[in-house]
Symmetry: D3
Subunit: 337 residues, 6 copies
């Protein structure tokens, strides 16, 4: 069983391509980097449970129900009975063409941000778990969480659980200095690091000269190599996005484990790009469970996350068969009938 | 010009009569007790400005725009430039028949809750103001606000401005003890007190025996008399609601200034009951500006607030002519064509 | 075949119970007094064609399509090829409880208002027609139409066609004096007059003392008798509505042909009251085709129009079977399964 | 753990109060008599699994997801891999006022209707089960199901599992003669029978004279007594509905176990009456688990099912606390804030 | 008059680009290969009637109404009064970018599939008909239909009616062997065959080597030539689609009557590609009625069907003028004002 | 303060990409060439008031409210109290791919078209105004307006106010001859002329040979030069649009003041192209207030109007910061978080 740990947010999005100022209703989604990975894994048929803390009111319960709907084990979610418990939320304005997407976060003082060490009994939680996945957002949310996470990583390591982390730097949550310090302390526990040239530069000050070349393969390889050399991480997985506009992106990825494995590149009409990286992680973890080769893994994970961009919301609601159809190139977009 | 002062919240409501758990979108409204009164006064043609503090991001600006749309002067609203500024919000689940409406508040640490004395220059703000209206919610939000409000009341009193207050006790915001202490300290400044038997009992422990008889005229008169005797308030305005179900209510009101003036009673099919009391206050203030008799005032304010219950959202979007049609009984519901 | 003649309007309605000021979209309906009757007859299986003039652009064509959808013969509709041709439209704000419904008409200079005598070849149009139905709205729209209608009535009379008229006074379209003059000139052609005490008083100044008692049976009978005595009309059909609120009405009707036939009274939760009278006329005409007795006729027409009030839009989309179920009292509202 | 067994249908409903002919979209719900009971029990915190057979395509999987969302154990649902597998569906047109609701079923040849004995290993399924609930719809769907059900009942009886059945006669699925024969053969297994005077008359020809008096207490008691005398069933639970109109119903219930326990009667503004009886069964089963007295049971089950009528869709999404608030009469419909 | 014969389905589509699993409502459309052609012809002003069999309930009647709305003569549609009559339906999930569209059919045992020879009196139906159009879907639905169609073809041939067929192979309905046998038996009756390289290979095993080159002109010509040589069909019309992604396609066509006529190629942003081929057939038939040259015909039909891809639903709601504007190249996409 | 003068229309748009014939609701927007410029300026923080005449009913008031919402000073708008007052409206069908957008205007006899000289006291209106902006639509609406505008221009010139005009020829409103005569008479008053090669050719018969080359820079420069030479206008601002399809356009602009300043060219996925030119004018005026260089001006105005094409409705709801991000090229479409 895979275990994911992290915040889940209520996402509020104006319908179609309206700006927030024009909106008279918001579409409701739930999402969070680690929960997104969990949902994608559940669609692939991998048992997965998500650990977080949610307010015990209708919004918190709706969030839990949504995870249950998509097959994630929510039995370990801690419900916050306190009086003014809240969950974090964000407003997402989808961009178009030259107008970029925008996000307004309102996530302070959420139940998970204020969670205590005593909320989580890691010996119980980690029972039966063979993979632990988290992202750099979790420790950024609060010092509490940062400490809780360290405890979890230590326990997981002791139990021989594979650990993966998506670097995911968020400037609105912590400084580069703080991020560097904390993430560096986590690196010894991490077997697989998901990242891109931007986040690696932001967190580890690695790759200065290359910053901004977000889709340049040579740059990505060089950075991955330097990270591996620095931290002796088993695998560095780098996604490469070229933002042609808010409506069109190019997307690829590579894995570096000493050797380098590069995926096919996709040009995508964007439906919703939130959760792209999270679905890549899910594709990787699924491939690892299936003992795919590294090249198969990078193709599967890239195709899976390519498909995510065509799906509304945070969650990558695609099956293994659908990913495989794209990988194998018979996903020619024709209607099946 | 009338001045209103208090929090404005983002309201999120499932469409039609869905429960929150079923909802996939929320309707967007903005509202707050004092702002609701301001909007209603603007519809009546009374110049009115609303004072609050809002985050300087798209949600805060949308709120300001919505007040501007309905003609409220927003030039005095303080925009919060701080990094994690937020505005309060609440989720509103509309009830039906035997299923009561529900509210989940998420209003802690909002820009207005964290406002400072220095945010408001009352000498400037009160320039040209002849009426100051607030509710018991404002001081309940934070000690900051409670102190700021006291300053404002003192300044307003000095300038001979008429002051009205809607008692509006909110158990989730403060204790009865705290409410009693603070509201008692405000009473000397208040010329007109809007309340009902429930809020008076909660805040002032007046009328014990009558508690719960929310629509009993004799009870309301007795309580109003006791409040007037205690605080020497000029006018006590009591609304009287009988909740037959979430779909049907009865509604009336009375004024007590030594004499008692009782309005016609209305039986209402409820579209949205939020803001009922706030629209009553607006009806009263309008009537005062028009120098209506006390009986005309109670009829106008009751009819105005009766109409509010037929309108979606917090705001009472009715004109003087529409209220008058109901008061005069030619509002027979026939289509005008 | 029944022939109906008159304006069709584009109706724009805010969704649910929103006020126009709150609306961000309008629901689209098409309707008009005579066209509404035509659609209802088509649902009852009676061949019916509607004659009007519509602009030959997408809105006019959409209107024609909507009539075709519901089985009305539109082959006689004249399409206006002129440059700035328009169709009339109106904004309809649905009321609730004490808040009345409102209508804003924008119908001047429409294709039908500017129609010419030469647009309609009545000898061709009336071929195969056995019943001609119109309302008092048609002559009120323009002098052109008033004259065209007179020509049609003369032709129809010559051919022995039964003629019915719904009095339908519209104060925004013409004065009482003008209405009285024109409608009086039409009365010799009319076999069945649909009306109520209000419209009869407005147009013919008959029944002064009774004005306003819109649901009083004795009043209605007295007025019907006086109309019959004055104009020697074969049948006077009087609908009787009591507007308890915008949400609840009572509804009944009577026929007077010398004898008086009174229908069962219904108390209705209103979904949409536009087209109530028009559907009564359709119920009457259907009954006449089926050679129902006068008592059967008044029951059928009243039940049919009662059901209209439960249906969104102008059109009474009910079958004969559904009306009969209500007439026969086994329409107990239980789900059939 | 409670086990429910039966068909789940895709329900397609026009938005608001539109007729099917007017609709341009359908709201999607899933429901079925036994699944509705399961969902309600899950909201009450009772472990419950639902057994059915669903097509292994996106619609079948959506149905399964919806049950998972609301906490029902779906691990026992059999997925139909066959080529043209389908699930039953129905179109539901919500009535209003005098216009009754309508249902069009399209449920033939569904995966569950064509299920085979070998699809269900009852020894495994019934493991850990203490209550088995089904309705008269299940055997009516197909002879296959009727036989499968008999096997299940026999197995359940052997294991000492409590068995309840809601009689639920559906004329469109089988004849009264067939129903009588099959249901009579089941009666020895049934501990608690949920029914009303209509279904008892339809299935068992008991209570002829009383037929139609759907809300008469004396009638219901007499019928219940006769059923108990005939079949020696432990408890007969009778719901009593008076359909004032499609918009307003009265609702009550009684239990008969030799003694008679009658619940408070509720007058309800109807939001959605589908699933009313199913939620009553859930209320009863919950009460039995909580060892409520018979009077407490009938009050809880009646209040629970009263609340169902205020909720869109088939499922009774209410908590124990909400039911209790109504039972205890402090559910006065006031907003909690 | 053109006659089209075939199934009409209820189509249920999630809004916007949602996956079925995410959807809470379905948009309603009606469509079917032959009916789509009929609607397009009606928009072009060609008299056309569609023959099918529909259940006589609200869904069947809604389907009929929709065809009436768009001007198709529905007087020959047979209404199925049987108890469990149903119409076929399908769920359509619109793809985007790399995610292909998906279709789930639920069309077994529909009224048309179970239709009998006696349902259709072809002598009456074919009266006044000069063109008969059908597709390979009709005989695939059931053996009944396959036989009924053969009768119709024989009758039509006798009367000298032009016959066209769109090959339209559907693997979910019948095997390639069955298709080959039946379609081969029809070929002698067919004057114009609409097809593409894929369907010709699937049905006639012609063009093996070329299979998959769906947009290669040389391939298409070679295949067309071989079909013409084999069956001596007057005209082979080949559409050529290149599926760049679910969002972008290229589209062209050619006619082969011994000579070859090739249309301009269009690159299309896809709104809805269902009905693309059906609208090509309508464009061809219209051109034939207008006696266009073969080159004019292929340009008109290709432009018409290009426009279809920009329109939601199955129906090509464009006028002759709109097609001509595209053909003539002044359809530069500028707003006309 | 900037003053804009001209008609505001109610715009009715089918949702998503539906054709009018398919629509069952219209989205509501308000817009008009000059009002669009006003709203954009208000978003940029420039004080601006819009002058027009609107009917004093709910639709007119809604229009006024919408302008207030976006910060435009509406205190000078004249409300039309007359009986059949109406505002102009138009139906807008958004195109896609090869299907062009369509507009149906219904703007005759609006309150503004029938406005009188006495409605506007220009001495009062122009008080505090430093810039006057109008378009060629205003004089085209009616002779009244054409004369009123001339008065305004004379007054503005006297007061030394900068005057800008967008040529905006509308063939449906007046002939080229009339346009030439009137616009030529206005040219002496105009300091900055916004136009494109098409409108200049239509109105002034300048640039014949170049007509149609709407995005050719050399052509645009030559035309601009000729206009400047002819009328001695200070600045000619030419937008250049290439309509690749209804879904994709290219967009650029140049300024000519003797020298020529050319902006970066943008390729845009179109969300809504109405108001593109109006937002360019706003960008120019803002730049002038900020004393930008000519090159900065053309870049700012082009980027601003490029962003407009990504926003639903007529109004360019973007901030200065957002425009600057695009100008400075760090608007790379990445989500900010």
């Amino acid at each position: 069983m895979v275990l994911t740990f992290g915040e889940v947010l209520l996402r509020l999005t104006p319908p179609e391509l309206q700006r927030i100022k024009q909106a008279h209703s918001f579409q409701i989604d739930f999402g969070g980097a680690e929960a997104n990975t969990a949902v994608s894994l559940a669609q692939f048929g991998i048992p997965v449970k998500h650990i977080t803390k949610l307010p015990n009111h209708e919004i918190g319960l709706s969030c839990k129900s949504e995870l249950m709907k998509y097959g994630v084990d929510t039995s370990g979610i801690v419900m916050d009975e306190s009086n003014h418990a809240r969950m974090g939320l964000y407003f997402y304005e989808k961009g178009a063409s030259q107008r970029p997407s925008q996000v307004i976060y309102d996530r302070a003082d959420s139940s998970i941000a204020k969670a205590q060490e005593t909320d989580f009994n890691w010996d119980v939680i980690l029972n039966g778990v063979s993979w632990f996945h988290f992202t750099g957002i979790t420790p950024a949310i609060s010092d509490n969480l940062s400490n809780i996470l360290l405890t979890a990583l230590q326990k997981a390591k002791e139990k021989g659980i594979t650990i993966s982390c998506d670097l995911n730097y968020r400037a609105k949550l912590w400084s580069k200095e703080k991020a560097k310090e904390v993430m560096t302390s986590y690196m010894p526990y991490i077997d697989i690091l998901f990242a891109n040239t931007g986040s690696i530069y932001d967190v580890f000050s690695i790759g200065t000269a290359y910053y901004g070349k977000s889709d340049d393969v040579e740059t990505a390889i060089a950075v991955a190599k330097q990270v591996k050399d620095t931290f002796e991480t088993k695998v560095i997985a780098m996604t490469m996005r070229k933002t042609i506009s808010a409506s069109v992106n190019e997307w690829s990825a590579l894995l570096y484990d000493g050797n380098c494995y590069i995926a096919k590149k996709y040009k995508m009409d964007i439906v919703d790009r939130i959760g792209g990286g999270d679905s890549f992680a899910a594709g990787y973890i699924y491939s690892a469970y299936k003992k795919y080769t590294m090249q198969q893994t990078v193709e599967f994970a890239t195709a899976a996350s390519c498909l995510k961009h065509s799906i509304q919301g945070d969650f990558n609601l695609v099956s293994v068969e659908e990913v495989m159809a794209l990988v194998n190139g018979d996903g020619n977009g024709n209607i099946k009938r």
